[in-house]
Structure formats: C-alpha cells, structure tokens
C-alpha cells in the first residue's frame, strides 16, 4: 500500500490534485489566522464594493475586494471553504457508509435481499438527483445538516454498485471459501475478509463523489436552499454576487474560481486513483 502511494504521487495529476486539496483544507482549518471576520461589517458606505487589492479608508487591505455590505470577500471565501469542504466531505462519508452497506449485503447474500437491494439501487439511480434535493429541501428547513443528509442519501448508488460487483466476485474466491469452511460466521467473513479487499473502487468513487457533492452543495446554497447567510458557503457567495455582476463582478467570480479549482483537483485525484488502482486499466 505504501509503494502504491509513492507511485501515485509520481503521477502529476495525483500530485497536483492532492496538493490543491491539501492547501484548500489547510486554508479552511487555519481560516482565523488567514483572514479577518467574514461577517463583520464596518462603515458600509465607505467600504462596500471595493475592487480587489484595494485598501479601505480605515487602512484594511482587501485582497479580493469587498461585497455590498463592505465585507471582505477573501475572508468570506476562506470561511466559506470550511462550510463547503466540510459539508462535501461529510456527505461523501455518509454516501460511503450507505453505499458499502447496501453493496456488501447485496453482494454477499443471494436471494430476495439481493434482488430488492439492486432494484432499489437502480431506482435511486434513475431519479434526477437535483429534483429530489429540491423536493427534500422544500419540505424541511434548509440547513447545513440537511444538505449533508440529503446529499449523502442521494449519492450512495454508484458506490453500492461498485461494492456489489467487487463483493460478489470476491465471495467465490478460495480464501473466502476456506473461511466459510472454518465455520466463520457470515457477517464476520464479510467485514473481516471481503470488505477490506473491496475498498479500492470505494476510494475512487469517493474522490469523484466529493467533487460532485461540493458542486451540489454550492448549487443548493446558490438557490437559497442550503447553507443560509450570513454563514458563508461558496454557493451562497456566488448567489450574493449575482445581483452585483455589473459593478462588482469579483464577488461572484472569486468563489466560482475557488469551486472550479477544488473540483478539478478532486476529479484529477479520482482519475489518477482509478488509473493506478483499477487493475483492469493497468492491463
């Protein structure tokens, strides 16, 4: 596994993706040291709509300018990273838990359990995810927690299918059969012997799922159905810049660029992982 990691980092895409994601996470964690208060409003009239690299009358420097309330865009961006990345990661973790559980049970136990779970997975895959997200967001009060739960519960299907295929293939292998022969109980075989060998596709799907989850969180918050202002998230930052596209385009541009950079990084890392870890692609 360690050799794998070394080879992986020699892939330029993986190195770049990991570096960018690492920096973004670091910036999110160290937000209080890198930026001022993202919510504080000073003298609104004097400090609003300052362009990037401007210094306001009070002497404060604004790397990315200010928004319509005179709030520092850089500070909101960095604190927004906490929300956007945090929500994305937690949502993907939830997807992984559900996906692995469904895929493993369907892959290991034959009969109606498998049929029912696979049918349900196919059904969930056929739903337009955003429509479902909107439906759920309209029935409950919008919040970061709701976004995590909703994204997590609508993003597990790809993982379940991958795990199912992997578990099903592994279940017939000699080391599993010998465990069965030794009288090891089914759940224990699944958790101790099969799942650790089936995790490769999960890692790949999780990296790609992270990109998707971050995009969708931003989308929901953009529509006002996710994280609620004044708490900054990249999505509601883009939304807040929407009305000021003409006189202050940087308010919407900055969080969008951040979003694209992070999503590209997660996608590159996922691609590299797939090429590296997927034996079918290694030939």
């Amino acid at each position: 596994m360690r050799g794998d990691a070394g080879r992986l980092l020699r892939d330029r895409r993986a190195a770049l993706g990991a570096a960018v994601l690492g920096l973004a996470v670091l910036a999110a964690v160290l937000a209080p040291m890198l930026a001022g208060d993202p919510i504080a409003q000073g003298d609104v009239v004097a400090t609003r709509f300052l362009p990037p690299l401007a210094t306001d009358p009070l002497g404060a420097f604004h790397l990315l300018g200010t928004d319509r309330f005179g709030r520092d865009v850089w500070a909101r961006l960095i604190y927004g990273a906490r929300v956007s990345l945090g929500v994305g990661v937690l949502a993907v973790l939830l997807s992984v838990v559900v996906g692995v559980a469904v895929g493993a049970v369907a892959g290991y136990w034959r009969g109606w359990t498998r049929v029912a779970l696979l049918g349900f997975t196919d059904f969930a895959l056929a739903l337009p995810r955003v429509v479902l997200l909107l439906l759920l967001a309209s029935l409950w009060q919008p919040s970061a927690l709701l976004v995590i739960v909703v994204l997590g519960l609508t993003g597990w299907m790809a993982i379940a299918r991958l795990v199912y295929a992997e578990v099903r293939a592994l279940a017939g292998r000699p080391f599993v059969e010998s465990a069965v022969g030794l009288g090891v109980a089914g759940p224990r075989i699944l958790v101790r012997h099969i799942l650790p060998n089936a995790l490769t596709p999960v890692i790949i799907a999780a990296a790609l799922g992270l990109a998707n989850a971050i995009l969708l969180e931003a989308g929901l918050s953009f529509l006002g159905l996710g994280v609620q202002p004044p708490t900054p998230s990249w999505g509601n930052l883009i939304a807040s810049g929407r009305d000021t596209l003409v006189n202050a385009p940087w308010v919407a541009a900055a969080p969008g660029v951040a979003l694209v950079v992070v999503v590209v990084a997660a996608t590159l890392l996922g691609d590299a992982l797939r090429d590296r870890l997927d034996p079918r692609r290694n030939g």
Binding site: D122, F123, L125, A126, L127, P128, R129, V130, V131, L132, L134, L135, L136, A137, S138, L139, W140, A211, L215, A218, G219, F222, L223, G224, L225, I238, G241, R242, L245, V246, P249, A252, A253, G256, L259, V260, V263, V264, T267, L268, D271
Partner: protein
Amino acid sequence: MLPLLRRALAGLGVVFGVVTLMFALIRVAPGDPALLLVGPSAPPAQVAAQRHALGLDRPLPEQYAAWLGRFVRGDWGTSIATGRPVRAMLAQAWPATVRLVGISLVLSYLLGIAVGVIQAVRGGRLDTVLSVATVTLFALPGYWLGLMLVMLFTYRLRWLPAFGAAGFDADFLSPTARAADRLRHLALPLATLTLVGVGGTARYVRGAMLDVIGAPYVTVARAKGLGETRVTLRHVLRNALIPVLTLLGLSLPALFSGAVFIEAIFAWPGVGRILVEAVQARDYPVVMGATAVSAVLVVLGNLLAELLASWADPRLR
C-alpha cells in the same frame, strides 16, 4: 423488442416509485400536509376541507390509493402561488425543457465525441491540453458559468439577452425576426448547458476509445490494409460508442439536474424554473407535479438512449 418492453415496465416502476416516495416524504415531513397544500394564510375551514379532501381522516393505505389515483388521473391540484391548475402550468412548460435539454444533449455529444476522438487518436501535447480543458469544463458549475457568460455577453458586450425564451415584443415581430429573437434567447442557456456537457462526454469518449484502440480486431483491420480514418471511425469509434450511448441514458438525470439550475438562472420557462420557484415559494402542489414530470421525462429519455444503444450494438437486440 422484448427487452425494450421490460425497460418500459421498469421505467413505469420508477415513476410509480417517485410518486410513492413523494407521498411518503409529505407524510414524514414536519407540518400538516393539508396546511402545506392550501398555504399558511388559508382559513381553518379551508384547511379542514383540504384535510377531508386529502382523506387525512382515513386509514393510511386508503390515503395512498387515493393519492395514487389522483396522480394517475392527472388531478394535480392548483398552485398556491398563482392559483392556476398545476397540470396546465406544466403542460405549458415541458416543451421548453425538452427543447433546451434535447438540443444541448445532441450538441454536447457531437462535440464531446469529436474532442474525445481527437484526443485518443492524436495523443501527445494536444491530448494533454484538451484534457485540461475538458476536466475544467467538467468541473464548472453550470449556474456559475451561466452568470459569467451573462456578465460578458449581456452586460459587457450587450450582444445577447439573458432572460426568458423570447423578447417582450416577440408577438409584434415578423416571423424571421421572431425566429432570430428566439435563437438569441436560446444562445446563452444552451451554451452553458452544452459546455458543461462537452467536458464529461469528451472525457468518457477518450477513455472508451483508448480501451478499444489496442484490441486485436483493430490490429487486424490495420493489417488488412484499411486506411487510418476508416479504422478509427468504423472499428474503434463504433465500438467505443457503445458504452458512451449507455452513459447517455445514465447521464440524463444529471443533465436534467443541470438544466434545473440553468433554467433558474436564465428564467427559461421550463419545468426546472417552475420547480425552483415553487420550492422557494413552498408551493407544494407544483413541486409535486414538477417532480413527477421530471421523472417521466428522464424515464422517456432513458428509453430513447436504450433504443440508440441497441441500434449501435446489434448484440444488445
């Protein structure tokens, strides 16, 4: 044709499932469903009437049967916000969505296949450059790209309109001017949706081409003395297209999802915009109807993709 029939039945199952899911969600969600449906400002008598109409005083299975019956009959109630019948609103909206999504689908697949083929065949630097471009397009959130295009083409250059499907004066224009007006309104939403789609398709086509390009039958085709173009188009691309067409079916839900945002940004008069506005206004009858219509559109699109795939690959028939 039998597999197709099976797929059609499965699609019917999906729509049925969506309607059932909505019933379950409404019951699980906080708040009184009757109150949700008539709106918070309704007098108690109306709430009670709605309660009775919904059959909330009857046992659950009976309620479910009634709900299903109303949906099948197309009795989707009236919008709380506009007072119009939900069915009429959606009947007016779905062609706009199909137009936008359909054209964008065709364009993004044609462009995506072209880019992916060039990448796989040429390789080298060009492949790297195009890979960077496609992964960036793939990562662009449609609603943000849309805003940036509006900033450039509407506010800065003043070339293209950013809202709606037709100008306010559309009814007074000559037929040709009206067509031009519609095209100008279509330009930005279509470009946004297509650009995002091209990235994903090209990435997938490139991978599928590379999977096939080393296959023995490709070597045989070359050994027979076939030209490089013919080998690429007839032997590599045709086989690479099979998984791509399968992806087309799977990517439809995502495309509809993307269209929801794009329609909201550009005020495109389709199902997506109705859905977003209804969700923001908590206009439940409309949310329910729009969800059902989206599910039906996705299922129908999936069937179409299935047909295409079986046309490209005789083995699937």
